[in-house]
Subunit: 373 residues, 4 copies
């Protein structure tokens, strides 16, 4: 069945393995005439790449090439294929643990599904590396959305037991915060708390261990009326994409799980007129009512589980021998990926929102001002 293709109107197909010849993406459904800012794609890919002490030592340049659908600085309206050649591949590290199932990884499920035929090197198609083309596709979608006044940004709300400052509720302050986040490699609102997070990551690394965390994302400038009551709700579409990002195990919109402890009188967001516009006094519903955007910021949180590749000895099973064993992982691994995952979340959100716009307005909205006309 279809593993790596998303979307009915803006179809995104990602391909590649961690240690194969190349990874990439085909985006089918772009309008013609969209100017693309290569530097913005480059920036998002750099945010996703490993950097610094708290990341893996594997360094990929992630040089990308657009091989189709792009001509003289603009999209042509035909499928855009973007490729990234793999260069830094040290497969030897991986072959050694081929039969020992890494806990928390997809080794066993991949064996069941693909048998001996998988490209086991570095996680193959399961590798977090395959999120690079997703980020590239998202960077293109973000440009389309930005041209319509829709901006997305994510901060690390929690990591290693440290919480960041909350997203501002004031609209202008939120816009400024998103702008700052989109120009920051370690995306926090409060730099001091960011330092503490990084110390917590380094502490885990020193223990041969890893940490997870929570990302919080806001989307501003969304017109009301996007999304559908049931299966194509904004929540359904975004969650579908968010849960396809490796390591995401939970997604909540607005107050999310905190709704469980509220009464309706607290949970309901009162409508108010503000400067001639309809706004809600609170935003517990995260900008979505009945599956449809209500014009308030869309706010959601995703939990990223701790990186499963740790250096501590672990109990597991030798799959070939079908017997208990212990495992000592080697190679190059991140003690945390949350600071890299944030731009993958942005990308997933951008792709999902573009699909929803396309469903309402076709391909045409991307370029000719149907939206917000």
């Amino acid at each position: 069945m279809v593993k790596s293709t998303f979307g009915k109107n803006l179809t995104v197909s990602i391909f590649g393995e961690s240690h194969g010849a190349a990874i990439g993406v085909v985006i089918d459904g772009l309008a013609a005439g969209i100017p693309l800012d290569m530097a913005a794609i480059r920036r998002d890919l750099d945010f996703r790449r490993a950097t610094g002490a708290i990341s893996t030592a594997r360094q990929e340049g992630d040089e990308f090439e657009i091989v189709s659908g792009f001509f003289e600085g603009h999209t042509t309206g035909t499928p855009l294929c973007l490729m990234i050649r793999n260069t830094s591949t040290r497969s030897g590290d991986y072959a050694r643990t081929k039969d020992l199932l890494r806990p928390g990884h997809a080794d066993y499920t991949a064996f069941v599904k693909y048998g001996d035929w998988q490209d086991y090197r570095g996680g193959g198609h399961f590798s977090g590396r395959i999120t690079a083309p997703l980020v590239a596709a998202g960077a293109i979608c973000r440009q389309i959305l930005a041209a319509h006044g829709v901006m997305i940004g994510t901060h690390i709300a929690e990591c290693g037991g440290v919480a960041d400052a909350p997203m501002p509720s004031d609209e202008a302050a939120l816009a400024a915060a998103l702008d700052r986040l989109n120009n920051t490699a370690f995306a926090v609102l409060d730099a001091d708390r960011g330092d503490k997070m990084q110390q917590a990551v380094l502490a885990a690394k020193a223990d041969g261990d890893s940490v997870g965390g929570v990302l919080e994302t806001a989307v501003i400038g969304m017109p009301a009326g996007i999304g559908e009551p049931f299966f194509n709700s904004v929540e359904s579409t975004l969650a579908h994409l968010l849960f396809s990002v490796p390591a995401v195990k939970g997604v909540e919109f607005g107050a999310g799980f905190a709704f469980a402890g509220m009464r309706g009188s607290e949970a309901n967001d009162p409508w108010r007129m503000q400067d001639g516009r309809l706004r809600t006094a609170t935003n517990n519903n995260g900008g979505i009512n009945g599956g449809i955007s209500n014009g308030m910021p869309i706010v959601f949180r995703t939990v990223i589980k701790p990186t499963p590749s740790i250096y501590r000895e672990q109990q597991t099973v030798d799959y070939a021998a079908r017997q208990d064993a212990t495992l000592q992982i080697k190679g190059r691994h991140d003690p945390a990926i949350i600071h890299r995952a944030r731009v993958v979340i942005d990308a997933a959100a951008a792709i999902g929102l573009c699909e929803l716009f396309c469903e309402a307005f076709g391909t045409a909205w991307q370029i000719d001002g149907i939206v917000n006309k």
Copy 2:
């Protein structure tokens, strides 16, 4: 665009409005020759219906008719249409608040999307009533899964500040618990805590208010290897459906948001051989690695926001006049829907899992034993 149709291989299309002539569902993609247990469909519909002091006074018999795709006790392999005629409709209650946007409801987003053309009576297509055909479709899917040894069950993990006993981790105990839940109208594992939950609901009702809660679902008997690494992961597919259920604002798998506070060494589930089978010592990943089922129980939690229809006076906006106003809701409403929603969650999970099985094994698996052969 497509609002109410889900699935590529097992397509489920729901239709209807709260106060229209009928609501129903078309299921396209069933194999021929599946015997259907009408009593099981009836039971799930009854679990969803309003009953007792903690529910709405609106009483619908929900008598269903299968008008196609079913002949001499079995599915025919052609589209199955199941309809429920609406009978208890008191639209007068609703007309009165037509211009006052109900906070927490989809009134505003529906106005933006559908203008004056929506069937505003009782929430129209946004009504929770439209989940009845979803439950019926789910009841059919549950029968198909049960014939392959896959069982789904849900309990109210938290409601009105009261937590239920946890799901058992022992396999046999879990199977017994799911069986009990599937024969219980108010689905808790600990009856005393269930009583306390109902008291909390009645207390909120006495205040003209409402409560939400958390549902926890387990799926046992799932073979390993179902689902796909990226966009068709088990999490993506189930979350897509779960977030299409009105009032669901968060979904987490396994440890979910608790992963944020764990280190990798705690989070990873160690593989162990048990009686010749591969099992994990813990199940923090909720039965899913890399988007694919690993043979352990699939476990997820969904948060249900408090019912937005409350009797307390609320601040809102008069949409026609575009000015602030106060709203006093009348009519028949539930102080809690979580005890009714549990079977909607079961249905959503069953539909999603059937679609994933179809993607792996086509239509054929439903009837001829390809799975678990």
Copy 3:
């Protein structure tokens, strides 16, 4: 897999069996606020119904009911379900030949696919009767197209060895011809030739035999630029739907199979400026270049095979006994269906074109004038 659901943006799901409780269709993806002309739906259903000496004696009133998605004279924007109860069912006629495979019918393929579980009465879901909801869906789509200046019409180009007059090439004359055809039960341009066709049908009937023919369809008012270069070409989309109509075994656009005998210098349609508009001097390409509408009338022809239900004794196989046998069909059957099929072809074309418009312009085009603005 999905048998009876078409379309990504305007999804049409048909359901029902010839002798079941009801047949119907769910249309998901209509905009809100489209006024529906019930008389036009009625007219198209009447064109499809059996009438007169050259048709079956089975008489169904085809009374339809819209049970959802329609309120106070307009679409609501939510799924529209239209149902037709079956009333005239004499299944006894069919039971008698249950094991004898009717040549030219789907009896054998249905046995292989559905086994003993099919609703064999009257062809079940394979019955031409299931085209009634398709016609109803098409009648709705035709209204949407007509509001944008797009008109579809079909004539019987050939039947029983008799050819109708050709479609006029002059635009105004073509528009007038389509209008006449859309108000004529036996759709020919030349009434005398229509009489000869009917005589040929009656001659076949007298012999216990049946005839087929060719339908030719024209679509005027199509804007240029609809459709896509490859898999969503206008030809691909229309042919997909046309070949789903029972009895259609060939589809050609423009000159079609006559291209085989032409040279490029004859086949190419020269572009010319006419009254400030781009037109082609000939229309061999049937209004489509590179899969995309070019603004000229879209013209295509479909061949309808002779009705397989004939009264002459036929050789066949007894499927239960697996041995050669002879078959004598009884019951109520048409000596020709081409005069009834014409409105099914119109419907298929209308559904396909609406889907293509939705892909370009989203749901929004249906109601707010994005097209031809």
Copy 4:
């Protein structure tokens, strides 16, 4: 909207422009462990490439690289991306006619759809060159089908006024004929008639003109029961793909348009028992009843219009100036493409049939013998 992506279960996305960096295809939905015969892919690509006096002088090596989804000689079960770098690009030839609409080409429709943003060089994404990745994808699908005993072959039934010998009706003779065709560059059953066809092509070339023709395809070894009654009929699925091949303007199954002159008693294929198998005495229905394969050879014919690029002076319009003009095409063009198109038709059929198998049996059938077990 989605332009170049086909299939729900076996998704094929083609990308690239005639004179861009590369063309290619992503196939998503292959099972793991399928051994691929590179020579067979090479052979089909060579059949599609221009060769000899009757073809264009443009020579592309069509060296392909599989960049993902393939490891140690087998598919991995993850998306397979195959790329072909463009090498022989002389864009100067094309720039000269940029504003003069080439009759029979997609120049005008591309302008309307993509504006100034298209890659106009050599037809861009509309170029017949984009069928190379389609052929590569088809070559992979043909290998999967062949492993299940399903063989596809096509001959040039008519070209330049010359008809080939008919396909044999005897099963063994047909199998031998298909095998010969699949090893012949100019695919005819009668070599003398093939010579006459080539003479007719050269005569047209000498006149600065071009010819079209008819291709006839047979598929043997198809099990009965594949396909669906309505929108996923075998005819609908194959026609959808066939009409996406540039220059195809008509498709007919079995007797096709000849049905128009038959009576039911001639058209119906009598069922007979032959050596314990159900066969039909004739095959007017082309192996398909009610949209579902009946176990007889699937037979269809496609018409290929004459190549629109001719050297004779043509009337047209200067699109920039919006005035009548004359056009003299230069560059490298084929006087016929039918001998190259035959393998594109084989590929389209193979992709469509694999999708239908997947719908019945999931991904699993490709590798584990569910079919024909």
